[in-house]
Symmetry: C2
Subunit: 344 residues, 2 copies
């Protein structure tokens, strides 16, 4: 079964959910053009989520995807928070920021009963999860209204786990992919595979359809992924310069520069490994740093540094998420980009 049949869409393409870079406008454009548009929900407030879902309901009758994180929520650890503050102390000094004024906190809540209640009236046709799956009861509730559920696997073992726990399709997320790694059964990044190796092994390991993600930037990439057995393809980075994107001017400029050739997995922005363009914070702390607290507690302490540096025109503390192949980015409407991806 391909994803056109699974989701009731025309084209084998999912626009990847990208928090901070796009809103409902891109999801709507992609869904209306025959792909599966995605709304990243992990950073939305309840009101924000409701507003976005209303916008989608008003502007498309086609299937769309809402994406949530489902990490195990943890309490902030004062010891790790102190270590993180100590690592950032020279930067606070550099920008004249009083660390005592910097709030702690996270800002990314996992999918919950409250959220399920909020979205129930909209009955989103597809839900995608990152970092595993929500607890069984919550998953059952979502599936009860007929939603298709998908999630990312970064290893063959994770793909088997997701299938055993009831997903309708697995996203095989190769190490090339931008943003957060979906990794959830391990924290050992040496387990992460490139798409060329991961995808065919996942296709062989599970019976549900497999969606390819990571490093795919254009029609040739889509053709290659389908040749490897993918039932569909998810692309993120290629959509980041589209007319509907809400990407920052700095992030946009970096993507259009040679800097896009060097992305790195880093935990310093959120506490979990994610791929973005190499910048000062990664360089100076180490892209994978023991100083970073648990997800999502790295973010709050960085916020004033990000703001101060950006005011000066520097992206030293900004998240510049990108996959390893930014060559497919085009500053055109998302619908046009989508159509350019479809195999002849």
């Amino acid at each position: 079964m391909n994803i056109q049949q699974l989701f009731g869409i025309e084209l084998p393409i999912i626009q990847a959910p990208m928090a901070g870079v796009q809103t409902s406008a891109m999801a709507i454009a992609v869904s209306n053009a025959g792909g599966l548009g995605s709304l990243p929900c992990a950073m939305l407030t309840p009101d924000g989520l409701r507003t976005e879902l209303r916008a989608i309901a008003a502007q498309t009758t086609r299937p769309y995807n809402v994406n949530f994180f489902c990490h195990q929520p943890t309490e902030p650890d004062p010891v790790r928070e102190a270590k993180w503050r100590a690592a950032l102390a020279p930067y606070y000094a550099e920008f004249g920021i009083d660390p005592a004024t910097v709030p702690a906190g996270g800002g990314r809540a996992p999918f919950s009963a409250e959220v399920a209640g909020l979205i129930a009236e909209f009955k989103p046709p597809v839900l995608s999860f990152h970092f595993g799956l929500p607890p069984p009861a919550l998953l059952a509730r979502v599936k009860g209204w007929g939603a298709k559920v998908i999630s990312s696997a970064t290893t063959v073992e994770e793909a088997r786990w997701l299938e055993a726990h009831g997903v309708d399709a697995v996203i095989a997320q190769g190490v090339e992919a931008g943003g957060h790694r979906g990794i959830f059964l391990s924290d050992d990044l040496s387990t992460q595979l490139g798409t060329m190796a991961l995808l065919p092994q996942v296709v062989r390991a599970v019976k549900v359809p497999v969606i390819a993600a990571g490093g795919i930037a254009d029609r040739d990439g889509v053709v290659a992924a389908l040749a490897l057995g993918a039932a569909g393809v998810q692309l993120g980075t290629s959509f980041m310069l589209c007319a509907e994107a809400t990407i920052s001017p700095m992030h946009r400029a970096a993507l259009q520069s040679r800097r896009a050739e060097h992305t790195t997995l880093t935990n310093v922005f959120t506490g979990r490994p994610a791929r973005g363009m190499y910048n000062r914070l990664m360089k100076e702390l180490g892209a994978l740093s023991d100083a970073a607290p648990a997800f999502p507690f790295a973010t709050a302490a960085l916020a004033p540094l990000k703001a101060a540096a950006e005011k000066l025109g520097h992206d030293d503390f900004s998240t510049l998420w990108s996959g390893q192949n930014a060559t497919g980015c085009r500053a055109i409407p998302a619908a046009d980009l989508l159509r350019s991806l479809v195999p002849a």
Copy 2:
């Protein structure tokens, strides 16, 4: 231009050179079947090299490839050697080995004028290099007898460098690939890209033909690589169980087990990063360890530990090179495997 035209072969497939796993027998079998067979030369003595080249000359009239390393040779550093010995001390104690009896040394010499002189009489049709290229005068000498020269790029920048320095084709070696990374312009492993991202970017960046390597295990993988613009494909891991392979029984067994699902880049076996199946030495020292000396000086100190552990049936100190996709391994003649890879 595809590699059939470039090398004068029938099929778009190179059998990757794999030191320790294959000899001239596999190269001969692959070349005679219409692919490009490869002889790994980095660990051969001058006499061994001559013997192997004579075997090839006697058994095939088809083009073949000889592979050499071309790292900058360095002198052993006594401080780093001492650090390495200290890291291994508990293992020497465990196996009752007197460290004083363990010789230092490397065992992998770079391509040199002496080697060029030795192989000149054979005029190998193709030379592939790893870790960059030999000095210009040596390269000119090789090209003077009509050999095609290729080398591995692990980044777009390395591909541009290789083209500027005169290669006839670039191997785009994705991070999925087994054995030594070809990386030579940097030692930052965060620069390493998956094949799905690296290949199309290299194809776009250089004018010479691009050979895809890394994660490709079967005909579908070959089709995918060609769709991404590859002029040909190089596979290593898939050939490792072939009838002509000289792989150790332990290595063979590991490849056929679930262990093949977890490979890691490690520097503990040679001093340079290479991909192999995860084992005890990687786990206990860390797969990428500051204790490892410069390439190739890690090897000698490990040799008695490898021998002692293997005698007890353990591969704790053995190199178990493998790419990230071992699903294409088949215990059949290399010629049959080769034919199974060719797109319809």
